[in-house]
């Protein structure tokens, strides 16, 4: 493997990290060529034209423009190639296809809390099966964190106030570093964990061993009742609120005439800022749950509503 020949470089372990490594190699080679040429010329000129050394100093280059134009053009073309290359890989890395195994990541000072749909939750660790794309839905409880797995050449900030999707995939079983890469306060450097990649069979074993009494969706359903959501959104209630069965992933007409897709972000916003996007035909009567639910609980509610997607409305 060519990648092992880069000094001090451990090859990346995901489909995209191969592309990143190739890009890195390309950058290294280009830089090495430029540096070699430059240092060679510097050394050559310094040696040959040192003061006192008798050598030909006549016929200095006076008209310089063709030199200037050629090295400007050469740099520009090189840079353009690198730009296009880097950009195309970048769009691959941050592509997030929909239906995959979702894992929920909540970042808070100073820990990573990860939760599998089955309710298995971990702290500063994440178990995943190999060779299968996993969609992470990440949220931050407080400040900006950054989810960084060096072995996968992958990083994304987790900004409070929004959900961030990120797709990860690991080729080889093993334990890999998970870092917080955005400075987040006192224990920033303690906010590290590990990604445990397992063979699919081992992973399902692990899932069953870890299986809690209830799934995230059912915990969300319990919260839904505890917080009183079901009082209005449940069937047969006196207050008229839009039913939530079968809503997830579908377009929702709003009272201002526009339409939104009921995705994670919309559901989250509707819980926190219920009156900003009111469903057509309903009154803006729902109170805000801002400050009353944590990111963990929010996630469970979103997952619960998502689990209602299959039900007929």
């Amino acid at each position: 493997m060519w990648r092992q020949w880069i000094p001090f470089w451990h090859p990346g372990l995901s489909p995209h990290s191969g592309d990143v490594d190739l890009l890195f190699t390309g950058l290294l080679i280009a830089s090495a060529l430029v540096l070699a040429l430059l240092f060679f010329l510097l050394a050559l000129f310094c040696a040959r034209y040192r003061a006192g050394h008798q050598t030909d100093r006549d016929h200095r280059v006076k008209k310089s423009w063709h030199w200037e134009v050629s090295w400007t053009a050469a740099s520009f073309v090189c840079f353009l190639v690198l730009f296009v290359w880097g950009a195309s890989v970048y769009f691959q890395i941050y592509r997030t296809p929909a239906d995959e195994h979702d894992v929920f990541v909540v970042a808070k000072q100073w820990m990573w809390k990860t939760q599998h749909p089955g309710g298995q939750s971990e702290i500063d660790a994440l178990h995943i099966p190999v060779k299968r794309p996993i969609r992470l839905v990440m949220a931050s409880q407080d400040v900006i964190h950054s989810f960084f797995i060096p072995a996968l050449r992958l990083k994304h900030d987790v900004v409070p106030g929004r959900y961030q999707d990120l797709e990860i995939e690991v080729d080889k079983p093993g334990h890999y570093h998970l870092f917080c890469a955005e400075y987040c306060g006192t224990d920033h450097s303690g906010m590290i964990g590990e990604i445990v990649a397992m063979e699919p069979a081992d992973f399902s074993n692990w899932l069953t061993q870890q299986a809690p009494s209830s799934t995230l969706a059912s915990e969300g359903g319990q919260l839904f009742r505890e917080l009183g959501c079901s009082g209005c959104h449940g069937g047969g209630s006196t207050v008229r609120a839009p039913p939530l069965e079968g809503v997830y992933g579908k377009p929702v007409p709003l009272s201002d005439g526009t339409t939104v897709i009921a995705d994670d972000k919309y559901i989250r916003d509707s819980i926190l800022m219920p009156r900003s996007q009111v469903v057509a035909g309903y009154q803006p009567v729902m109170p805000s749950f801002e400050g009353k639910v944590s990111e963990d609980q929010l996630l469970r509610l979103v997952i619960y509503i998502k689990s209602l997607a299959g039900h007929p409305s």
């Binding site: 950058l27 003061a51 200095r60 280059v61 890989v89 941050y94 890469a181 306060g185």
Partner: protein, 535 residues
């Protein structure tokens, strides 16, 4: 000495602290900057000692976070940004253009007082308990979660910003209006072109920093959410506003260095700078395009992919003029007559280190690799190659070059060369391992780290020890020479620039008679057959 120099016109304290002489103000700045440099340097030393082992042993996490914040704030705003412009620039600009002073001398003095006020405010914040936000003051950490003197520190930076603006304004107007007769734009030394470009950035970018810090402090003080996501604010807006200043600020920190290098390379090659007009316009191009690239600090922050694409493209574009400059400096050496005096050693070191810094900048401009490398030690190494390897090296080079003009004394060439070489090796040993650390994935601002990273950290800390000694050396031999060195002649390097046409040190109003310029700059071979006479 029969005639009076600017140093001997008056000896009272009042004559120093109420002076409007640009040369004395430059000395005031110089003294303050040495002070700040060593404070920032002390913080760096503590950081490197702490990082020699993976565990926390010297300081606690809270102290560590305050140390790197203090290192960043002091070094960026109280050393690098004012370094060359306010000391060498202040001293040399009027001399180079044949003027008797800057356009607004009282404004110049005021800018020093504002700078000191800002500096003292920041120092107060540091010694009262410190700041732990990092020099970037990212919200919502700085506004809602940090438990430290954020507002005071931001106020210090805010105040110092006005000093930058006034200096930039002064330089722009001076270079436009006070040039000696015959000194057309294409006869200006390239140092002035780059200072002009720097001033444009100072004037147009710094106010945005001021307003950003003001909004941040307002949010923190009144608890109103300007950038607070809980009431609909957007933390990324803060980053956009912050980097609108702080990325161009990087060019504030390198352009003057590039300017100095032009002077050094041509003087010690006894040859005019190759492609003068290209180098001149490249300075302005860097200043202008430098405003279009700030989003490359935010490729993983969640800004839109299209914005990332545009900013990445612009970042590659801005590298073109820098590359042109490096090629031109190299071509300048061709068929020159090269002397390896201390300033030239610094200049050669600059070319090498700046090129490495610039090339690794391309790595970071490259979107997909930046996803891996951003916020790791790769970035730390990259910007130290630019700012320390580039700017500080250029600053030392320029300082040695103009030292005879500033003090009227000659320094010890032996010690100067030793220090230059030591700085070069110490620097590379300190920062090259950090590229490897970053490529392996060690995040920046880490107080404790996994033991796999230790080898490179130890190397880096060892290099830092050498670097610390090397940076202390000039303090002694330059300090010694300022009082006991041999008297310098008016033109020790046999250079044609106007600043060498007056005595060393210059009289109070610089020139006895108004100089008139009749030729292009850097006419070394035509006017001077003699080789430079050295100390």
């Amino acid at each position: 000495m029969s005639e009076k120099t600017y140093l001997t016109t008056d000896f009272t304290l009042r004559s120093w602290f109420l002076t409007t002489d640009h040369k004395r103000i430059a000395i005031l700045y110089f003294a303050s900057l040495i002070f700040f440099f060593f404070i920032g340097g002390a913080a760096a030393a503590a950081i490197r000692i702490e990082l020699a082992t993976p565990q926390a042993d010297l300081v606690s996490s809270d102290v560590y976070n305050r140390l790197f914040t203090m290192h960043g704030i002091i070094m960026v705003w109280f050393f690098l940004i004012p370094s060359i412009p306010n000391t060498l620039g202040n001293f040399i600009v009027p001399l180079m253009i044949g003027a008797r002073d800057l356009a607004f001398p009282r404004l110049n003095l005021m800018s020093w007082y504002i700078f000191m006020l800002g500096g003292c405010t920041t120092l107060f914040a540091i010694f009262a308990g410190g700041v732990d936000t990092g020099w970037t003051f990212y919200t919502p950490f700085s506004t809602l979660y940090s438990n430290s003197y954020v507002i005071v520190a931001a106020a210090g930076v805010f105040i110092a910003g006005f000093s930058s603006i006034l200096t930039g304004l002064n330089f722009i107007v001076t270079i436009h209006r006070l040039r000696a007769p015959g000194l057309t734009w294409y006869r200006l030394p390239l140092f002035l072109w780059s200072l002009y470009a720097t001033s444009v950035i100072l004037v147009l970018a710094t106010p945005v920093l001021a307003i950003t810090l003001l909004l941040m402090a307002t949010e923190r003080f009144f608890g109103v959410g300007i950038f607070d996501p809980r009431i609909g604010g957007d933390p990324l807006l803060f980053q956009h506003l912050f980097w609108f200043y702080s990325h161009p600020a990087v060019y504030i920190m390198i352009l003057p260095g590039m300017g100095v290098i032009n002077e050094l390379i041509s003087c010690f090659s006894r040859k005019e700078v190759f492609g003068y007009k290209f180098v001149a316009w490249c300075s302005l191009a860097i200043a202008a395009v430098g405003f279009l690239v700030w989003g490359h600090h935010m490729f993983v922050s969640g800004q839109s992919l299209i914005a990332s694409l545009v900013f990445s493209f612009m970042s590659f574009i801005v590298a073109v003029p820098s590359a042109i400059k490096v090629f031109n400096w190299t071509a300048t050496l061709h068929k020159g007559s090269i002397h390896f005096d201390a300033p030239m050693l610094y200049a050669l070191a600059f070319i090498g280190l700046f090129t490495i810094g610039g090339l690794t900048g391309l790595f970071l401009a490259c979107l997909a690799f930046d996803v891996h490398a951003t916020d790791t030690y790769f970035v730390v190494a990259h910007f130290h190659y630019i700012m320390v390897g580039g700017m500080v090296t250029a600053y030392f080079g320029g300082l040695h070059y103009w030292w005879p003009k500033i003090t009227g004394r000659l320094y010890s060439e032996y010690w100067a060369r030793t220090a230059a070489i030591l700085i070069f090796f110490g620097f590379n040993l300190t920062f090259f391992p950090q590229f490897i650390l970053g490529a392996e994935g060690m995040p920046r601002r880490y107080h404790v780290y996994p033991p796999v990273f230790q080898v490179w950290n130890v190397l880096s800390s060892g290099g830092a020890a050498i670097l610390a000694v090397a940076y202390l050396m000039p303090l002694f031999y330059l300090g010694y020479s300022a009082f006991f060195g041999k008297r310098a002649p008016a033109n020790p390097w046999n250079a044609p620039g106007l600043e060498w046409q007056t005595s060393s040190p210059p009289p109070e109003f610089n020139f006895e008679t108004q100089p008139v310029v009749t030729r292009e700059p850097y006419q070394y071979n035509e006017r001077f057959d003699a080789e430079p006479q050295n100390a």
